[in-house]
Every structure is written in C-alpha cells, then in structure tokens.
Symmetry: C2
Subunit: 408 residues, 2 copies
C-alpha cells in the first residue's frame, strides 16, 4: 500500500468503530490502538493499526510525538452567525430576569435578529469566521451552522448565503441548517408567515441547496406543534432532513413530533421526562444535548445519563449563540457534558464524534477507520482523556481536516 501521508508516533488512537450511531452501552465501547499509525490517501484514511504493523510506503511521514489522537469533533448545533452582542441581556439576567422573560419582553433573540438584519454579508462573515475558527481550534472539524436570526424569508436566505461564504473560506466542513426560529410578534401575522416559509422559503432553500436540513424551535414562547408540523411536512416534501429544538423550557410535544417525522435529531431536551426519553430510546432520532445552555442560563441539564441508560444515542454540541450559550469550544462542550449531564469520558467522545456526525446525517466522519475522511486531532498529551478532563485550557494541539493540518 502507498500512502500520501502516514501519521506515526500516536500514543493512543481512540475512536468509535463501525458505521451508524452508538446507542446506550455502545457509547462506552471505544477502540483504542496503542502506538498507532494512520495512513492517508487523497484526504481519506486508508489504514489504521499498530505502527509496527504498517507494511506500506508513504510520501510524507508525520510524527505525532507520542501524543493521543482522536477523531475530529463534530459540532452538531451552532448559531455561529450573528451581529450585535447580548452583554446587556447577560447583565439583566445576572440581576434576576429569566431568559423567557427577556424573550417575552421583545428583548433577547429579537435584538440579535435586528442587529443581524442590519449587518451586511461582509460584516457577518467577518464576525462569524473567527467564531468558527475558535471552534476549529477547540477540535471541531465539522460544524453545523443554523440560520434563524434572519426572520423574514429574504433575511433567512441571506443568512444561509453568508453561511455558504464562510463555508467556502473555512477549512472545516460547514453544514448549513435552515432554522425557523422566532414567530412574528403579532399572533395575527403567524399564518401568513407560515405560508411564506412553507410556500417560498423552504422550496427555494431546497432548490438552491442552501441547507441540508430544517430545524424548528418548538416551545411555548415560539412555535407550537401544529405549526411546526406544517414546516416539517413541507421540508419533507422538498427532501430536507429534519431537526428540532425541543423541550428546552417546556416539553410540549417537540420530541414526539420529531420522532414521528424521523428527525435526524431532537436538540436541547432539558425539560424532557421519562416519556420523551423512552420515545428517543426507541427511535432512530439522535438526542443532542447542549450543556453550554445549562451552565449559561442555569436551567436544568438535559438528562444525558438517563437517555444513555435508556438506550438512546446521545450527541453533544456547543449551541454557540450570544443569548443562551456563548461557549466557543466544542471540546469544552464535551467536558461540560461529563460534569453536567452525567456522561462518562468515553460517552462524551462518542457523543462529540460519531453520534454528532449521525445527527447531521454524515457517514464518512466521526471515526478513524478506513474510508473515513482524515479528520483527526493530535492532543497535547499522551492520554486522550485530557480532552474531556481539562477545563479552561485547550487540550487540542493539531487539527487535521481531510488529511491536511489546518492548525498546529
């Protein structure tokens, strides 16, 4: 065998193994190869194994210096493109107001929507790109980015176009999602807005391939089940995959709706109870939990432990956004999921790699095995557990995407 690049000197190569999401106990089953090597051809892994067992040739050999290697992280839930800041909200909340009170009062998300609408594409790219770079530095090699601060169909399209521009200039794989986020302020305007989204926005997004999935914020203060159902039906008709913001503050049926529509993922789940956990465990829908929101807003942590114990497939993301999760590190999201959601270190790694990839419908990333994209991280230390153990410091040394080192 002849490789373009051979990575040697890997103290531990640590990865989930085999295609598809890992559920329940499977989330603790990692493949660990000591003194490993990775062979790469044209950006794709062609072989992994013990370094001593490599029999081929390689054009370039890169020594990882007896450091641990894990798959590139997949951040399956971000809102990384926004303008303005929410520092005033942050101050208001730390003096006692709840996120929902700020939302209901027309502050919160709506102030971000106004600022984002007022910004040019160049400005939004200049603001969004460094945030994506922070996530990459923290280990993310694939990053989902949602629209949703656009509000009007035209503004949503503009947001997706901005995400496309960032995608073109970023070394990471960017996965765009059309997010139907906040309803019109006046209830009277909801039906016409829903029509516009269903009849114009969704078809155009699908036609221009500006997003691979739709996401709807299902919540007492946002979209109701019957409304969300209309969005999902139209999205399905146009072959968009489905994701849902559900059970963040109230469990009003978002999980059940998502499962019924075969959603890729149901995200948040802080307010999910035994029924929702059982629904997810019995479904193909990934349960994506977002510990940054719990730490930032002080809301209960999603029941990660219970979801896994029930047999669900759990993924973890940053939910990077200015209002409810200013968390700029995908690896720190994993570290927080161990502390806040009761995941083990092994489960956190699976949640941030293969399961997060499945939450985006991607099969060629999230694990280090032949035929997968050569997206991997060289850590500073020789023990992979430092990735989820360390707080407030980046455990990631080198980031490789598609066989190329993009950060060292």
């Amino acid at each position: 065998m002849k490789a373009d690049t051979l990575i040697t000197g890997i103290s531990q190569l640590v990865t989930a193994s085999g295609n598809g999401p890992k559920r329940g106990k499977e989330m603790r089953e990692l493949k660990i190869i000591q003194r490993a090597a990775i062979a790469i051809v044209s950006g794709v892994i062609v072989w992994t194994g013990k370094e001593s067992e490599w029999k081929g040739e390689a054009e370039i050999v890169v020594d990882a210096g007896h450091r641990a290697v894990v798959p590139g992280l997949v951040d399956p839930h971000t809102h990384a493109v926004w303008a303005g800041d929410r520092l005033a909200d942050f101050e208001a909340r730390t003096s006692g107001l709840s996120y929902e009170e700020i939302l209901a009062a027309g502050g919160g998300i709506r102030s971000t929507i106004r600022a984002t609408a007022a910004a040019s594409q160049d400005e939004l790219v200049a603001l969004g790109k460094p945030r994506i770079d922070s996530l990459i530095a923290s280990g993310a090699t694939t990053i989902e980015v949602k629209s949703g601060y656009g509000f009007t169909p035209a503004a949503e399209l503009a947001m997706l176009e901005t995400i496309q521009v960032i995608s073109q200039i970023s070394p990471a794989r960017i996965v765009p999602t059309l997010l139907i986020h906040v309803p019109p302020v006046s209830a009277a305007n909801r039906p016409s807005y829903i029509s516009e989204v269903c009849e114009e926005l969704i078809p155009e997004v699908a036609r221009r391939k500006l997003a691979t999935a739709i996401d709807v914020f299902v919540e007492k203060e946002a979209w109701q089940i019957a409304e969300a159902e209309q969005f999902l039906e139209h999205a399905k008709r146009h072959h968009l995959a489905i994701k849902l913001h559900s059970d963040q503050f109230h469990s009003i049926g978002g999980v059940e709706l998502g499962v019924r529509f075969g959603a890729l993922s149901a995200d948040h789940l802080e307010a999910s109870g035994p029924d929702q956990i059982a629904e997810l465990a019995a479904s193909s829908t990934i349960a994506t939990i977002l510990p940054g929101v719990s730490i930032h807003l002080g809301i209960p942590a999603a029941p990660g432990r219970k979801l896994i114990d029930a047999g669900a497939a759990v993924a973890v993301g940053t939910d990077l956004n200015p209002g409810s999760s200013p968390l700029f590190s995908t690896s720190e999201a994993l570290a927080l999921s161990v502390r806040l959601n009761g995941l083990t270190a092994q489960e956190a790694l699976v949640a941030g790699t293969i399961n997060a990839a499945c939450a985006l419908g991607l099969k060629d990333i999230g694990r280090l095995e032949a035929s997968c994209s050569a997206d991997f991280l060289v850590l500073h230390g020789s023990d992979w557990r430092e990735l989820v153990y360390t707080l407030g410091r980046n455990a990631v040394r080198d980031v490789w995407i598609g066989g190329k080192r993009v950060q060292e």
Copy 2:
C-alpha cells in the same frame, strides 16, 4: 508629569477604587473611565484618567486599539505544582465513586503526593511552569501557589523551594503558601506529625521566608479543629498569615476558627450555612469561593450570592489542582462564579481583582489607580463584560505585569 509608558486607546478602563476589600454592595461599584489612558513610571501606575485629560509626556505610547482594560487578575488559591495525573480518578468518579470515597480509600490526593514526592525539582518546575503560563494567559498577574503535596516536612520544604524557582522564572508575582494538607494515614502518627510541623516545619518556612501564609485543610477526612488550632498558633507565633480550606464537604468549624484567628481568607465554603455566612460577613476574613470544584466534582456551589448579600467580601480563584479542579483559566473561574455562585459580572471582577489581592494580604495590586503596580489586561473587545461572559475562549489579549507586556 513624565511617564515611561502611556497606554492610550482604552475604550473602557474598569476597576475597583480605593484601598481594602470591597464588601457586600461595594462589590458592584466599579469605576469606569471611557476613552481612558494609563501613565506608568518604573512599573507603577502614576496616573489614570480620560485620555483627553493627560497633560504630560511619555517615552513610549502604546495604543490599546479601542479595547477594554481591567486590572490583572489575582488567583488567590492554586495548587499548581504537582506530578502525576488524576485521569484514573476522573474516570472512577464519572462511574459513580465520590471524591471522599476515593480519598478514604487512599487514592485521590495521596496518589498525587506519591507522584510529587517521586519527582525531582527540575521535573516539578517543568510541570508547574506551563500551568502558571496558562493562568497568566487567562489574565492572572498574581498567583498564589500552595505546597501540600509534600506531606513530610522535608518534602513540603522541597515543594516550597520548587515554587520559589518557578517564581524566579515567571513574569507573574507568585505568592507561596505552606499548606498542611492531608494527615498521616494512621491516627497513631498524627501527634508526632503535628509536632514536626509545629516545631520544625513552620519555624523553618518562616525563617527562610519560603511562604507568607499557612493554610490548613480542615475537613472530616483531613484535619480536625483542635489540630488545626495548633498549626495556626504556631504559624501566628512565627508571623505567618493564615488561610483555611474550610467547609468544602462538611462545616465542622473551619470558618469560625479562621475568623477567630483573623485569617486573611476562608476558602471553599461549599457546605457553609447561615451561621458561617454571618461569621464571615461580620469579620475581616475574605470568603474565597472556587467554582471549578463545583463544576468538576458536582458538589454544591459555595453561597456566593448569600455571602455578598450578607455583606461579606468575596474572592474567586481557580483552585487549580488535578483532583478537584483541573481549571486552567483564572478568567473562566470568574465566568463560572457568575453562573454557579450567583455573582454579577461586576462582583466577579471585584472578586477576581482587589478582593483576591486582599485574600493574599497585598495592597498594591487588584486595581488600576496611582501607586498600584501596572498589572493590567487588554481584552480582545471594547466591552469589559466579555471577560466574564465568554466561555471556552480567552477574552484576554495582552497581559501587562509591572508595566511590561508579558503576553500579546
């Protein structure tokens, strides 16, 4: 007036004002100067004010680029020198064991003591220095470092000597503390160990000025009140200041003991109740809280909000250590104190600057006013609140210590 260095282009200069700790409501009173400048002579601030009001000359002018400036952070509680790792403990805990169970079983701290005892001074410096560098990068300009993994008097002296070496090669001001940490395993050996510490270790540490304060771990599984009292009496006789680890798991009288001895600070306080809060509020002892421990161990957060509301002076530190707080960022400790301990952004800044300085008995740091050391941070953004708002990314751009830029 003639300055060596003039810092201009400061969007906001944000600082506590006036000498001494800030208590209760005073912790929300920040002095904010818009479009400010700082004049420095020989590493000391000689003037601050609006840039337009500076009338003097300056040899060097440094433009902060319309960025916010805050005082250098003071990390008043770290155990930054250790060998070995606690990744196995971390795995054990995330599979259900408690910190105290691991401690009682002879694991936990004792494994760090064994590894630290086995390491040479060179090895400990090589391990400790990068950790101090991480704290500096996160904004710490003064850092307390405790001994306490030495156990035998000779090994404690060696640890303090190691801290002295790190102090000499670090740009930060390092404040060494003699920590009497873990008792002998056998109860029969406690009296002789106490004698050794009181009759030999404390006098020698004081004579050689290897530490400015003593600290004792008062806890059910560590030192009892009557034992701690002996250490404190001897320390007082030798003019060492006093600090205490108290109320981390159980409130067994550590706070009351500290207050009675006029301690600089009582640290941890996770298990403190109304009586301990009232004691601290009525005393000169700083209440130092350590949110890294709460997030890492999942123990209750110290009652920061209640302490301030009662009128206490609260400080915040990382408690950087491998077992209970692998938190390598002093600014993230402040960010966590807002989320976990209920501090406002203003209170967190005061807790991490002037109050933390007072917890170390230092008067010339922790605020940006004439006659203070020119220790300050230039943030990435123009709004100082990003320092405590941002999670998982360093909001600190440049770190200045004693009028010199040590990181940019």
